[in-house]
């Protein structure tokens, strides 16, 4: 099952010592954060992705995340137009995008401002900036550039001007098309990347382009590499300390898409919506080959209705969407729960409420997923915390949906969707590809909702099975699926559907605690904040803080043992990308404080006073932001 690439990987030079390149001794680093920022369309992301892949192939831990402009069609050289990529890489596993960058390559000074507004840099951050602007024929630009450079220096940045385009012009006619590859070469030199791996990566990236284009890109790569070797005295070396196992590298949406295939799902029904759509872009390309199809429906209601129809007919189905699309699926989720149709629903969360922040991260759909239904609607809710889990949890979701005959909502978010990280290449399990139900003849005496008294579980017939015929309905119904408005039948049906949740709960184990089993502070998180929380906690622990963390994957039913665990800590606090009133806001009291979703949920669940640290900046949680609060809480 292994391929050539992997053989390459296992023979990677695993040495950690400083290498010597072009005479300068490369400084060994444990890890590093770099950014490439530009106007939209200048290829910064492609360069960064290649850099990330090369680093992953060199055995590094990697996390890359796209910098998406705030505006859809931002004007050039504007703050709102900052587009690009951040790559955090190191000798060990990297789990989040980190805090301020160590080095940034900027194509103009205005986009840098955009990033400065996001607190992307610190004093000392190295700025490699395209300096053609200082020669601009437009006086305003010249002026803007000069002024910005002064300001950057005042802020303590280590600014180095580079005439990137001029350098490119030495090798190609139109530098605007390949500057990104020149930058990639430069970075490869600075960070002692294996340039043959970078070449291979370029060949892969441009595999559908002409040889001429590939050649030109390779030329620029090498030019950037040589130029840097000769002109820049920065040289770093990041070795690998990780066990070398076969790995895949992709973003969370690709991981969900692959998970859909690995789960043996046959129908993915969707309506485009950011940031979920790219899952289905990926599937639209390749799903056919694994015996599945994407259906682009006329809207989100139709998308889920279609998936429910397919599932009713015995075909495994998923529907994928984000916030506003989830809102539209409300009624059909209720039907799936009521009529017990297995269904996987993936919600790639974005900033809300309403249309909100379409491209940005938030964890604001938690309570909607659990309680967002008129009437009592048992639904399983799980959340992926890593890109790897994006893959595996789709498979798990299908299994739960079918075993318990109910809808399963899998929450991911915009941070996972666009973040890229290598993870262990999964084993493929042929069992996943089985059809959802045993299609041997149905026993006439078994009713379509023959609820097990204890677990609420029942087997379902599918069309085609003689003697299994029934009419599914969203009205109150008895075990025959006959419409029945009697008091006791309604009570019975609700009860049986609810028991499935207790049955699932029984199969869960308490969450693992990261850190000591008791102490001063317990941080509770869920979803994509995992890496940042654990990093902050481990930093605080190194500083002597008595703090641990735990991370929830199952939100409904929630994992067992929480109350008991919480009681072992003096204080419990969630970390969430969600809105919550601050304690010292005007008019706010303990009583009327509107709390973040998870903290609120956990209070009801444990009767323990769970506090929170939260923001809704549309940005991933940073370890530094969390650490700051931990230090305050722990008196460090």
């Amino acid at each position: 099952m292994l391929n050539a690439n992997l053989d390459e990987l296992t023979t990677t030079d695993n040495n950690n010592s400083a290498a010597e390149i072009s005479g300068i001794k490369a400084k060994p680093l444990k890890e590093c954060i770099i950014e490439i920022v530009s106007d939209a369309g200048e290829g910064a992301q492609k360069a960064g992705q290649s850099f990330g892949s090369v680093s992953a192939k060199m055995g590094n831990g990697v996390w890359t995340v796209e910098i998406i402009p705030a505006e859809v069609q931002p004007p050039a050289r504007s703050r709102a137009g900052a587009s690009g990529i951040r790559i955090r890489f190191g000798s060990n596993k990297i789990t989040n995008m980190g805090d301020e960058a160590d080095l940034v390559v900027a194509f103009n000074e205005q986009v840098l401002y955009g990033r400065i507004e996001q607190d992307a840099y610190k004093a000392g951050t190295i700025i490699l900036i395209e300096s053609k602007w200082k020669n601009s024929k437009v006086p305003e630009i010249k002026e803007e550039y000069a002024q910005a450079l002064n300001e950057f220096k005042e802020r303590g940045f280590d600014v180095r001007e580079i005439l990137m385009e001029e350098e490119c012009l030495k090798h190609v006619d139109n530098p605007s098309k390949g500057k990104n590859m020149w930058v990639l070469g430069m970075l490869c030199s600075i960070y002692s990347r294996d340039v043959t791996k970078a070449e291979a990566q370029i060949r892969h990236t441009f595999r559908r382009k002409s040889e001429k284009i590939i050649e030109s890109n390779l030329r620029l790569l090498n030019a950037g590499y040589s130029w840097a070797a000769e002109n820049i005295e920065l040289k770093f070396q990041i070795g690998s300390e990780m066990k070398q196992v076969p790995r895949l590298v992709m973003n969370g949406n690709e991981a969900v898409g692959m998970g859909v295939m690995a789960a043996g799902i046959e129908v993915c029904s969707m309506y485009p919506i950011t940031p979920a759509t790219s899952v289905t872009h990926y599937l639209s390309e390749v799903f056919e080959k694994s015996g599945g199809l994407v259906h682009q429906a006329e809207d989100e209601i139709a998308a889920i209705g279609f998936a429910i129809g397919a599932s009713y007919a015995g075909k495994t189905a998923v529907t994928i969407t984000s916030g506003p699309g989830m809102a539209l699926k409300t009624e059909f989720i209720g039907l799936a729960s009521m009529a017990e149709v297995p269904l996987v629903i993936v919600d790639v969360q974005r900033g809300g409420p309403s249309t909100g922040l379409p491209t940005k991260v938030e964890q604001g759909d938690l309570l909607y997923a659990i309680f967002g239904q008129p009437g009592d609607t048992p639904t399983v809710v799980l959340a992926a915390s890593t890109i790897e889990e994006c893959y595996h949890f789709v498979i798990l979701s299908r299994q739960l949906a079918e075993a318990f005959r109910m809808p399963v909502i899998l929450l991911t978010d915009a941070n996972l969707a666009t973040g890229v990280q290598p993870f262990t290449r999964p084993e493929i399990n042929l069992d996943s590809f089985s059809p959802p139900v045993n299609q041997s003849p149905w026993k006439k005496e078994i009713r379509p909702y023959e609820w097990d008294e204890k677990t609420g579980i029942s087997q379902r017939p599918i069309p085609g099975q003689a003697d299994g015929m029934y009419v599914l309905t969203g009205l109150a119904h008895d075990e025959e699926s006959h419409v029945a408005y009697d008091s006791h039948i309604n009570q019975l049906g609700c009860n049986r559907r609810s028991r499935k949740m207790a049955a699932i709960h029984k199969t869960l184990t308490p969450p693992k605690i990261n850190g000591d089993e008791s102490g001063d502070l317990l941080v509770v998180g869920w979803g994509s904040t995992l890496g940042a929380i654990e990093e902050a906690v481990s930093l605080a622990r190194k500083m002597g803080g008595s703090v641990s963390s735990l991370h929830l994957r199952f939100l409904s039913p929630v994992e067992p043992g929480l109350e008991e665990i919480f009681k072992r800590f003096k204080k419990v606090m969630t970390v969430e990308i969600n809105y919550g009133d601050e304690e010292n806001d005007p008019l706010i009291t303990q009583e009327n404080r509107r709390r973040t979703q998870l903290s609120w949920f956990l209070r009801a669940h444990t009767l323990i006073d769970v506090d929170f640290l939260a923001h809704i900046h549309g940005q991933p949680m940073r370890p530094g932001f969390i650490l700051q609060r931990l230090k305050k809480e722990l008196g460090l």
Binding site: M261, E266, V267, E288, G305, I308, A313, N438, A466, T473
Partner: protein, 317 residues
């Protein structure tokens, strides 16, 4: 998850199905409701075609008419108001072996379901659609429907409704990829039966608007047309609905209409003086989305695993 038999290639015992093989629960419609006649006609079509009940699925939304699946002894899906089409499409998408019928009401299809209706026409999946059009909301007790005639007195328009009705035939004919559009009436069992039979035989989305009496809420709605057959015009053509003698005798007004002629179909559908019944339009060559859906079913687990492995390779480092 199970692995015993798969891909819905189930064993269907060979036996002759009688009418009672298609009879589900005792219908709970008002005694003289037009829906009864439709149910009977459908059961006859099933018998005529000898549809295996377990391979037949009736899908509906919510409304009196949407109770239909309960009264059939087949598989059924009595879903949400306005949403029978997406569900039916999902059922059919990867199950070419199933016979899918949709029973919907004028509110269900033309009001809350209008968007799905338009798109269902365009998908043109092989299914038989019965719009039970009583020009009123029955189940919720007499509110105006989009097909209610202007001035209709209802509980939401006690002083008379404001707008002219939607004509479901013309609307359907206006959607790209429409492939079968017919109209019939609940009170002529022979024409009703022939029309549904033709609809079921058509490969594609067969849309049949059935003028349906709701004696409970609009006792006089079609009274004139029923008592005077001259208010009906019968569309005839060799490619149209099969000409039953009793029907032809009854309706003196008839016009020969070639169901391939879309322009004429629209002109006839537009008529307000007479009720045209028969086949307005039929084109079996239209693109069928269910054919796309059936294009890659039945892959073996190994084949799926292989495809996944190919993907892994692309992302391997």
């Amino acid at each position: 998850m199970f692995g015993l038999q798969s891909e819905c290639m189930l064993h269907v015992p060979e036996q002759y199905h009688t009418l009672s093989d298609y009879e589900g629960a005792q219908p709970r419609w008002c005694p003289s409701c037009g829906d009864h006649a439709v149910l009977t006609a459908v059961q006859k079509v099933c018998r005529e075609k000898q549809l295996p009940p377990e391979k037949t699925v009736f899908v509906s939304g919510i409304g009196c008419s949407s109770r239909f699946p309960h009264y059939m002894k087949t598989y059924g899906f009595h879903g949400l108001h306005g949403r029978p089409f997406p569900v039916a499409e999902g059922i059919k998408f990867r199950r070419p072996d199933l016979d899918v019928f949709v029973a919907t009401g004028d509110g269900d299809c033309c009001s809350i379901g209008a968007g799905h209706w338009i798109h269902a026409i365009r998908y043109n999946m092989n299914m038989t659609v019965m719009l039970l059009d009583n020009e009123i909301y029955g189940l919720t007790k007499m509110q105006t429907s989009p097909t209610s005639r202007k001035g209709t007195i209802s509980n939401t328009h006690p002083h008379g409704s404001i707008l002219p009705p939607i004509n479901p035939l013309i609307t359907t004919l206006g959607v790209a990829n429409a492939s079968f559009v017919a109209q019939t009436v609940d009170w002529n069992p022979a024409h009703l039966y022939s029309t549904l039979l033709a609809a079921h035989s058509h490969q594609g989305f067969s849309f049949v608007r059935i003028l349906q009496r709701c004696p409970h809420f609009s006792p006089n709605l079609f009274a004139e047309e029923i008592s005077n057959p001259d208010l009906t015009v019968l569309l005839t053509h060799e490619n149209g609905i099969e000409a039953v003698e009793e029907v032809q005798k009854m309706y003196k007004n008839s016009v020969v209409h070639d169901p391939a002629d879309m322009n004429e179909a629209r002109e006839i559908a537009q008529r307000e003086d007479l009720i045209p019944i028969g086949l307005f339009f039929c084109d079996p060559s239209k693109e069928q989305y269910d054919k796309y859906g059936a294009s890659n079913i039945g892959f073996s687990p190994q084949k799926k695993a292989d495809a996944l492995n190919v993907e892994f390779e692309k992302y391997a480092v």
